[in-house]
Symmetry: C2
Subunit: 221 residues, 2 copies
DNA sequence: TAAGTCTTCTGTGTATACACTCGGGGTGTT
DNA sequence: AACACCCCGAGTGTATACACAGAAGACTTA
């Protein structure tokens, strides 16, 4: 793989998983030494991260990891609502019912797996949700919408990493996802929007309640 | 200004205004010679253009100017509908009524100026619409939404450059904009959404009818 | 002692040289 | 004659050197 691509993915993962904290200054020279590559691919990686909104220019002095406040989370979910509702609506209109009927069934099974927690990371559940997102994107068949979703999900993943894994919330989310999948499978756009909106409302409540957004201190250096 | 920034803006303008046609291959060496700068800032500019969706990677062989089909325009307006309706709704909830009342008044005046075409480019009208967009962004107060709008408007500008300036359509659009501004000024979110949707529906019809999207041939080289 | 300025230094912006990969064309073989 | 392999070149990917700008610190002066 290209060095710039590797650097981008490594830094992106570091930021999303909070190994690089908000306020941390990312110097080109320092990064090139740490990653063992030259400044050129590092610059490319930093440019892409800034375009993604994960880093911000620091007054001509390189870039810093972007902070994320509770207000940002609200804005993010508000924006996400526009995208996800439209995507669900389009999927209900255009999608293959069989695909979403199958997903709804898988979600029911996963719901049982979530109560009996033999999978502490719930990796299989998250993988299932990811497949559902991909299926909705596919069904919505709108490249602009898809690109926006990709960007939003990056920030969402970063926010989600802050939340404690709450089994009860996870079970509720699974039920909500199941209802969305069912509405799409039934080809009911209005219901798809409604179920999506319900899910996002609950998800935002959970995100704002259980997370410590403000207390996160910028990195010392 | 930085060389990379200049190169980016120059190329972006060339693509948006159809001086660079879809399919045109943009080689780094060729561009660096044409713009009188080195390859490094050219690479930066091309990266940003690709992130904007104005250019696409060409199998590791540089980038090419992105094509834009009638289907792309439909997708673009479908996506734009999500954004503009949400923005109008938020503006109706949060915006300062006075700002939009003033805009509605200016649109009424502009409507008269459009019929008596003493301004052949309608520059003042377009400037007014731009101010209204900015006011809505400001009132919606959502950074994610705003960034998405910026990206969409880039593609919209590119599509619009293909359309013949139709005075009747322009007058209709002015009325539609006026109704949107009025709904926002009245603090009526539902009406703001409805008027926006009406406007976009008409705009899409006009865009698809009057433009020659498919006939545009990729550049010879 | 405080404020202003000068110096220095760190780090980015740009240019250029080198390496490597992917196509294309030509030639040889079957 | 057709197919496969090899050589060559064009162009990108990466490294590095140099120029320049902004900031921090120290020194001087009022």
């Amino acid at each position: 793989m290209r060095a710039g691509e590797r650097a981008y993915q490594a830094l992106r993962a570091d930021i999303v998983e909070w190994r690089l904290l908000p306020g941390q200054v990312l110097g080109e020279v320092e990064l090139s030494e740490r990653l063992g590559i030259s400044r050129t691919p590092v610059r490319e990686a930093l440019s892409r991260l800034t375009a993604d909104g994960l880093t911000e220019p620091h007054s001509g002095r390189g870039v810093v990891v972007a902070t994320i406040s509770a207000e940002d989370v609200r804005s993010l979910y508000e924006f996400r609502d526009s995208l996800d509702c439209r995507a669900a609506e389009l999927a209900a209109r255009r999608g293959d019912p069989e695909v979403f009927r199958a997903l709804a069934g898988e979600l029911l099974e996963a719901l049982e797996g979530l109560t009996s927690d033999d999978d502490p990371d719930h990796a299989s559940y998250y993988e299932l949700v990811q497949r559902m997102d991909a299926a909705i994107d596919e069904a919505a068949a709108n490249p602009f919408l898809r690109q926006a979703q990709t960007g939003v999900r990056l920030h969402l993943a970063r926010v989600r990493k802050l939340s404690k894994s709450d089994p009860r919330r996870l079970a509720s989310a699974a039920v909500e996802h199941q209802r969305i999948a069912q509405a799409i499978a039934d080809g009911d756009p209005a219901l798809a929007i409604a179920t999506t909106r319900v899910h996002l409302s609950n998800a935002l409540q959970h995100a704002l309640n259980t997370k410590e957004l403000a207390p996160v201190r910028p990195a010392a250096s």
